[in-house]
Amino acid sequence: MNINSPIIDFKQVCFSFSDDRFLFKDLSLAVESGSFNLIKGPSGIGKSSLLKLINRIHDPQAGEIHFKGKPLETYQPQLLRRQVLYVQQTPLVSIGSVKDNLLLPFLFKANHDLTKPDDIRLEKLLAEFYLDRINLNDSALNLSVGQQQRICFIRGLLLSPDVILLDEPTSALDEESSRIVDASAARLCRVSGKTVIMVSHKNLNANDIKPRILKLENGKIRET
């Protein structure tokens, strides 16, 4: 990959769920490595679908999307998704402890080459996300929505992705939890050099980073 080439590059992408209505038509977008991108737009415009095109949960009908200079189809889907991590809008935790939920991705075959983090590392990460009062053996289902959202965030980070796709991560959170999630995302970009693409109706609640704001409308995207 050329040092100046974007980490993610949409080239005239068309996408629709049905034949008669395109969500995106000839959409082009370049995302620089290590940048923080905030995507805005009205409900139903396709913000989540745009993120899901980047990790190939959906495929476009026309056009190409490149990751690190190569078309997405050239990557094995499981390995691509590990590098381009998507965190869902609704936190999804299952029956079991916080630790079980955090280590869920390590049960999958494609991730067997990764080193499973020990309890000390997990506790350190919990503390970074202001969850230090939570025990690894606590039931994940008993946590608040804000806490569960942060657990989901940490679960993804354990895979050491290069790109983090956050789908309205603060929509169901209170002010305090939103601030923590926004600050954590900003820190990952600023300190760890991760590329962040966040979809949100709200402004970013973090002072240490100035996001690139993109507006999605009429099937196209424009920078504001």
Binding site: N55, R82, L85, Y86, Q88, L107, F108
Partner: protein, 264 residues
């Protein structure tokens, strides 16, 4: 113990329609609107069963292996079609996988039972192969439809969960493992439950028929046990094959869940 079967005379058989008359009157006076259906159902029962009787007489007389196999394939085809119609699914075309899975499992189980357990020679002897195989097909249909319905509705209802796992590096098998298990269980539980209740809650049709025909109750019981075991085996094999194939059809080679919400 083998006594002659008391035949039912034509007039006596028509007396049986008295029960249909009761049902029809109940429907009429309670304004249930079932009279037409009741009439069609009665006519079909008479027509289909008599037709089957004559076909069986013909097959028994011809005594030809290919004809027996052809009839069995036709029965499986019809059962697959019934399942296909009963599961309301517009996105995944599952008719052929269902037909193929039923064909493999039912032939395997039926041949094994007639040739090894009942020990009939030849294995396709129509008097044994068609009734035993037919009972298995008829009784497995609901179980297979149930498993398919559970698989497809589970994948739709738990789409977010499936996609969450895919997003964390799971392949389609890992992401849908739990849903597959539930579908398998839904398909297998009815035949296991039948084994629990048989002889206590109900006396099965085959056993009743043999006893009326004058067979020794112990012989009738042995046949019934064989049928129950066949049912568990064929349901398990058919359900497993069908859910594995249909699950594969629900995902793309890019490990994407293809099923979308389905509106009626």
């Amino acid at each position: 113990m083998q006594t002659a079967v008391v035949d039912i005379g034509w007039v006596q058989l028509c007396f049986g329609l008295f029960f249909i008359l009761i049902a029809g009157l109940a429907s009429f006076f309670q304004a249930l609107g079932l009279e037409r259906k009741l009439l069609i159902g009665t006519v079909r029962t008479f027509a289909q069963l008599f037709l089957m009787g004559y076909i069986l007489k013909f097959i028994f007389a011809i005594n030809n292996a290919w004809l027996v196999i052809l009839i069995f394939v036709f029965m499986i085809f019809f059962a697959s079609r019934t399942i296909y119609k009963s599961v309301d699914e517009k996105q995944v075309s599952f008719f052929f996988p269902t037909f193929l899975s039923m064909l493999i499992s039912f032939f395997f189980v039926a041949i094994l039972v007639t040739s090894v357990i009942v020990d009939v020679a030849p294995w396709w002897k129509p008097q044994y192969f068609i009734p035993l195989g037919g009972m298995v097909i008829g009784n497995s249909m609901n179980a297979i439809a149930l498993a398919l319905e559970r698989l497809l509705s589970g994948l739709r209802a738990r789409r977010q969960e499936v996609e969450m796992m895919l997003c964390h590096g799971a392949d389609y098998k890992e992401a849908s493992r739990e849903i597959l298990r539930e579908a398998m269980k839904a398909g297998m539980i009815p035949s296991i439950n039948s084994m629990m209740a048989v002889g206590i809650v109900f006396i099965p049709g085959m056993m009743t028929g043999q006893i009326i025909a004058g067979a020794d109750p112990i012989t009738a019981i042995k046949y019934q046990i064989v049928v129950m075991i066949m049912l568990v085996g064929s349901t398990t094999i058919a359900t497993l094959l069908i859910v594995l194939i249909v699950r594969r059809l629900c995902f793309s080679s890019g490990q994407q869940l293809l099923l979308r919400p389905q509106y009626k």
